[in-house]
Every structure is written in C-alpha cells, then in structure tokens.
C-alpha cells in the first residue's frame, strides 16, 4: 500500500536523505516518508570518491568534519547497524606545490588543531614515509592527518536506511517526485509517480536534482549541477595507505580496502547540466596525472570509469536550512562534492532544524548568507 500521508517527505535516497530520515526517526518523528527516483545511493552518493577529510580551512567545516568522523568511527553503535561501512583511517596526504599553498596549509592546521584534528605538516621526504613510491618532484610540502580516511558510501547509506526503516520510516524506491502542491503559501503534498502524499513538510535532499525540486515548489535555488568523472582500477595488494590529494595539481586517489584504486580530479569548462557520461579525455588525463604522481599505478588496469553530478552552490559550501519564502520547505543541497563525508553531522543538524529545536551547532549554512554577503570562503576545495 502506498503511504499517502506523511509528517515530512524527504526527497532523495542519497546519504543525506537517509541520514536525515534516520536521525529524525531516532528523535521520535513518526510518519516519515522518503522517496527516491531510482534506488538508494544511485546518484552522487554511490558515485563519489568516498573520502572523509577533516583537514579544512574554516572553523565550521573543521567542526562538521570532526563531528562526522566521530560518528563514522562509532557507526555501528551510533546507527545500531550490523553493516560494516569499511572505514579505513589511514589519513589524507595533501600535497602543496607552491609557497602560497604551504602557507595556507599551515594556517589551516592551526584551525584544525583547535578542533582536535591531529594534522601536521610534512617535508617532501617525510611524506615518503607515508607513501614510499610518491613522486616528490616539485613538491613543496604536504599536510597529513592520520585519522582522515574513506568509507563505503553504499554501505553507509544502506545502514542509515535500514536503521530508519526499523524506526518506522517508509522508503519508496523507484518513485519519482512530479510536483509539490501548495495552498495559501503552505505545502500540502507531494505528487509522485506512485500517487499523492499529503504533507506539510518537505526536505529537498535531491542532490543533483535539487534545483528542479526547488522549482516544483516555486523556489529559485542558487545551485547547479556539474559532471565529475572518476575511475577505478583492478584490485591489488594494499600499497597505498592514505588518500592522496592535491588542490593545485588537482587530483585525489585512494586505495579501497578491497584493493582497487579510485581516483578523480576536478573538471575544467564543464557545463551546468545533468550529464554523467564518461569521456575518453578524462580516462587519458587521469591516467597521466595519477601515474606521474604514483608511478607504480602504471602497471594497473583500469576496470571501470563513471561520473557523478556535483550539486554546487555559489560558495561551494552546503545550503542547509528552511526556506524563508516557503515555510515547511527544508533543503540540504549544494554540497559541492562533500556531502558524503559531512552526512552524519548534517543529519543531526537537519533534525534539530526540522523539529524546531535549538541548532546543535553554531554554523552558517543558510540560504540567506548569499544576500547577507556572509559566504563561507573555504580555501581547501577541489
């Protein structure tokens, strides 16, 4: 039977939607319905690089990342799940190729230490102790945080979803949102491909499709979608501990516990659209970049490439708030590539927001920041 009434309809079965569903249900909210167009983690969540980084350059990001990592570290207890999220905490090695970048890293580390994030600066030679085969040509310095890492986004999403279901959340897969009904300035329901769900509250957690969902409610949300490509190699014995990343060289590369290397870089001149096809150009550029930096990868075969859609906000920081124009319309959008790693903390923040409790954290993630010109200038993004 189709559930036709809900306290809130969460749109999007990615990690943000599932984390919100779980946290809301854990706090006692009943009649939560989550709708997903395809299957859970079918969008950006299941396509992401899976990294979890705490080495940020702003206080609120350091806070959110640290908070999230604490939850990832204790995921089984926190979410009451038997699912192994395959957390691997072997650090993030961030590479700096200019003096300016080194300066920035030093500033960042100062902030990170305020939040108890155990990061440190390494000389190029020192970074060889962490990745012995790293090409340190042109490398000025590196920043390393041993408790950073990565986890399996499918498992994290599934764990949140299962726990949410146990708490009574209804999850409707293969269900597309077709429209949002309003009456007298209030939300009255969500039209889906499987029928109408009456509700007064909606959470837009539609990732790449966040802007389209906003339009359905008559809102013009300042986000756009952009293709980011990624590839994976065959699995081999474990040789790379940390996620290796560089903002200026523009790369990230990790070895999953399964043994395969997952890597990507930020695209240039990508249009604002929903395409997620793969390009030969990426395959070749990525191979060149990765094998220059990590020469042993030359011997590996690439088994698959794919792409996902970043939902990007003007300051590349998430927008998590209730709409000022339409009461009851909540959004957790514009994560700009960092939704997975922030999902545990964001789920908690959203819950207080929706339950009208005091915000648990002092952060600025509302939509109004753009008008107030209080945008967040995070220096450490790909």
């Amino acid at each position: 039977m189709m559930k036709n009434k809900a306290s809130i309809v969460i749109i999007g079965g990615g990690v943000i939607g599932c984390s919100a569903a779980y946290n809301l249900s854990k706090r006692g909210l009943k009649d939560i319905v989550l709708v997903e167009k395809k299957f859970l983690a079918s969008g950006a969540t299941g396509r992401c690089g899976a990294g979890i980084r705490q080495q940020w350059g702003t206080r609120q990001n350091c806070f959110l990342a640290k908070k999230s990592m604490e939850i990832f570290e204790n995921f089984r207890d926190y979410v009451d799940t038997k699912i192994d999220i395959e957390l691997k905490q072997k650090g993030y090695l961030l590479l700096a190729y200019s003096d300016k970048e080194v300066d920035q890293f030093e500033k960042n580390i100062f902030i990170q230490h305020e939040y108890g994030i155990p990061s440190r600066i390494l000389e190029p030679e020192e970074s060889l102790e962490i990745v012995p085969f790293l090409n340190i040509e042109k490398l000025k310095a590196a920043a390393f945080c041993p408790t950073d890492g990565h986890a399996n986004p499918f498992h994290v999403t599934a764990a949140y979803a299962e726990a949410a279901k146990k708490n009574g959340v209804t999850i409707l897969k293969d269900t597309e949102v077709l429209g949002i009904n309003k009456s007298k300035g209030r939300i009255t329901g969500v039209e889906t491909s499987k029928g109408l769900i009456e509700t007064e509250k909606v959470l837009n957690a539609a990732g790449s499709w966040a802007r389209e969902i906003g339009k359905m409610a008559g809102l013009d949300l300042p986000v756009f979608s952009e293709r980011h490509e990624i590839l994976v190699t065959e699995p081999v014995n474990s040789i790379l501990d940390p996620m290796v990343m560089s903002f200026s060289y523009n790369i990230y590369c990790q070895q999953s516990p399964h043994g395969s290397f997952i890597m990507g870089y930020g695209p240039e001149n990508e249009g604002h659209n929903h395409r997620i096809n793969s390009s030969c150009n990426f395959l070749e550029n990525m191979s060149k970049k990765a094998t220059w930096l990590l020469p042993p990868l030359k011997k590996l075969r690439i088994v698959r490439q794919w792409a996902g859609s970043y939902n990007i906000s003007p300051d590349k920081q998430p927008i998590v708030c209730e709409s000022e124009e339409l009461a009851g319309f909540y959004m957790a959008i514009g994560f700009s590539g960092h939704g997975f790693m922030l999902s545990p903390a964001i789920g908690i923040y959203l819950t207080d927001l929706i339950l009208k409790e005091e915000p648990p954290f002092d952060i600025t993630v509302d939509l109004g920041r753009f008008e107030r010109r209080e945008t967040i200038s995070e220096p450490s993004v790909v």
């Binding site: 096809n277 793969s278 390009s279 030969c280 150009n281 395959l283």
Partner: protein, 536 residues
Amino acid sequence: MIETDILVVGGGPAGISAALACGRNNIKTVLIEERDFLGGQLIKQTHRFFGSKEERAGSRGIRIAEDLMNEIKKNKNIDLYLDARALGYYEEEKIFTVLQNGRMLKFSPRKLIIATGAFEKSLSFENNDLPGIYGAGAVQTLMNIYGVKPAERVLMIGSGNIGLIVSYQLIQAGVQVVGVIEAAPEIGGYAVHASKIRRLGVPLYTSHTIKKAIGNEFVTGAEIIELDRNWNEIKGTEKKIDCDCICLSVGLSPLVDILSQSGCEMVYIPELGGEVPVRNENMQTSIDNIYVAGDLAGIEEATAAMLEGELAGLCAANTFINDVKQDERIEKIKNNLEVLRSGPKGSKIRSGLNKLIKGETFFQGGRNTGSEIEAFKKTGIPSGENLRSILPDEKRINETPFALIECFQEIPCDPCVNNCPFGAITEGTDINNLPKIDYSKCTGCGSCISRCPGLAIFLINKNYSENTSTVSMPYEMLPVPQKGEIVDVLDREGKKIVSGKVVKVLKNEKMDKTNVISVEIPKEFFNVARNIRLVK
C-alpha cells in the same frame, strides 16, 4: 587516433559480412576481433547450413568461414585487428577504444557496426558447479577448435539446434551421448537434427529436466525428472543417468555490453534472447551512427547473422555513398531475411521482432503452424503415417531405385531442390515448404543424399536381388566402412535390426565428407534400415 569510415566490432559471421559489404564498396573499414582468429561460431560449425542456395545452404559453416576470411584478408579497404578487445565507445567524443597488445588504441569511426554475438545461458540446479559441467559452446570449442575430447559420456541438456548439433558432433568425436533432455514437450531444434542422433541410438527425453548433478569431485551422473504440462516436477519419476559430463545448451543471451555502455536504447524481449538494442529495419540503433547485426540484435542463426551483417554494412555505408545498385541489394537482403523467418520455425523470432519498436510491425506475414505431425516433434522419429505419406506407389517402389526424403517439418531449406539434376524435387515458391519428389522424374541417381543438410534423404533399391534390397544412406562417421564389409544395420532409433553387407561406398571431394554408404539387407527392412554401425 585512427580515422576510419566504418568500425566493425566482432569477427563472427555478422561482423565479417558487415566488413565485407563495406570493403567491397571501397569504404575504409576497420574490423576488430577479440580472438586471434576470425570466424566466431562459424568455425565450430561442421554441419551443413540450411537456408537457400543464395546463402550457401548445404555448405558447412567452417567452409563458409574459410571463404569469408580469405576475402577479408584480400580486401585492401579492410584493416583487420586481431587479438583486439573492444573497450568502450565515447559518444560525446565519438571515440571507440580498443585494447591490443596491452595498449589502448583510439579509433574515430564515422559509423560503428557492433556484432559482438552472444554468450551462453546457464541453468540452476543442485551441484551445477561440479567439474564436468560445460556449456555446449565450450564443448564445441574444445572439440572443434582445439581437438580435445571433452568427456566420455555426455548428457545434453536442451534440444535446441545447438544441443542437437553438438550431440551429433560429440558422437563424431567418439564420445557417447547418453541422452538429450528437453523441458518443453517438443524438441526445440529442427527435427531432422533430432532424427540424426536418434538413428545413432541417443535417447531423447522431452518434458524432462535435470534435478541435480551427482558426484563429489566431478560429475559421475545426473538425476533427471519428468515435468507435467505446467512444467511442474512429477514426483516419483526421477531417473539416474550415468555420465561424466553434463552439457548445457539452454539458450543464448545477446552480448550487448558495448551498446548499453554507449547509451543505446535497450529493450527486454524474451523471444530475442533478453536485453536487445532497439533498432530499425536498417539495423540502426537509437544512436544514429551505431548499427548492429547478428546475435546481439536477437538470437538467431548464422545465415540470418550474415544477412544482417551485410544489411548493416550497406546501410551504414549508404550514408556516405548513394548507389542505386546498393539500394536494390538492401531490398533483396530484407526480402531474404523475411523469407528465412517466414516459416513455422520462425514464429518466435517474428514475434520478438514485432515487439522491437512500439507500434511498428516488422513482419506482416509468416506461418505459425506447419504440416508436421505431433509425434515427430516429440521423438524425432517419423511415425508410420509420416512414412506412408512420402512413399511412392507400390509399382514405383518395385521398378527402379528411388529417393526418399524423410523431411516432415517446414524449415527454410532448399539444397535438395537445387541439386537434383533432373528437376524431380520441388517445393513451390516458399522455401519453407516440404520438398516433393516427382517419381516419374526421379532416376534414383542418389546425388541428393549428400546434399541434404538434415541428412534426411535415402535411396532405396528394393529389388537389389531376389531377396535383398539396398538402402543408400548419408554417413559422416569415421572410419568409413569398406566395400564388402559386414556391418550392423540400425533402424530409426539406432537399434540393430540385422547384419548387412556394404555394397558401395561413394566418397568424393564434392560430397565434402558426407559419404554415401549402400548396404544390402533383407527386403523386409527396406523401409526400416536407416543407419549402420561398424562391427569391431
């Protein structure tokens, strides 16, 4: 980056035909093949093809492969890349990537023709992972490509053409086939193929399925069970069959990975084998510059694959050149394909093709029911009634030798008609019709015997001597018996009826290994004796 007009992926019958169609028209063509030799399934096909003379009916697949491969190598417009594996197609950049010698090659073709064929389906049953359980294709590869005997005693699961043909080939290779089982109530493949193995003594169990494989380290047997009309197991009908190999021949799935990856619109049509690309009658997919041909566009057989390949090649090439002659040929191929699919045995493919595009009917005509008789479809052995319907009258029987065509199922085939030097065999305008002999014209020359792809023609000389008749029959086993040799004479079920003397062995190059053996037997057996077995 390698520039080409056409890139053909897959060196089987469809891909080769597509490349040739382009190459013959002076179009720059690249043909890539994953293995280090061309031919696909054709090179394993040692049996003669059905179909019409125009499509080389009566020739063995391996011979067709040899001719096509030679033409590919001679054609200057075709660049052949062997040991070259297709990696993917990037529609955005129009780049097709290929792996050869550990390096990625980049092609930029104007048109792509994908002809990657199919892969074998499997079947779930208890112990189906025991060593000794093979796909029929694997068994054929071992025997016909590598010359390796796959087992001693084989149980074949599935009576489609592949199951029946591979059973026959196994026997030719000296392997015992202990049975063929078929879950449906009727034989899946052509009944003439079934008759061939029945004459060799192979039991055929219709309405049966495999329940489990028996054995610890490897297969030592199989348990089979009968099915009722609703395909439910009938308790108490379990039978144990000793064998060291269970060969699965339960259908093929189109190999469509490259098309799915390219973003072609796909549709699930069980009659065509599963997930297939949506395509128009010119073999063009939903992506304008991608064409398809052969099994990946719908499971059929090699003749259809070759026609589709040529059609795809010409249609793809036609976008660069405009030639009236080509247009005529395109129409002709479409017509030939339609004829090939128009008989009762083509009903499945017709129904599948009609589902391909919503609201579009590929086939208007076609016959779903034929004149074949129920019992024959279940057993592969013609009934008395079947046999009476083809015998000439008593007077003619006693006059001079005459040919007897034991062909009771309407399949698209005509080599007998085209090969009779006296025009005694006709089948009317429809290639699916059963052949008929005008006994006033039949001289009993016997030249039709080795021409029939179904090995279903026999020559009878009833009054060979006062007490004996001779039956001349096609024989494709080794060793070939000698004239004067005493052999066991078998009936249509492969049971010994009497001993007989070989009075004539006809063997020449033109017959291409379908030798004709004439055996002398007591008169009463002239309409029973249909096979021989050498006495050791």
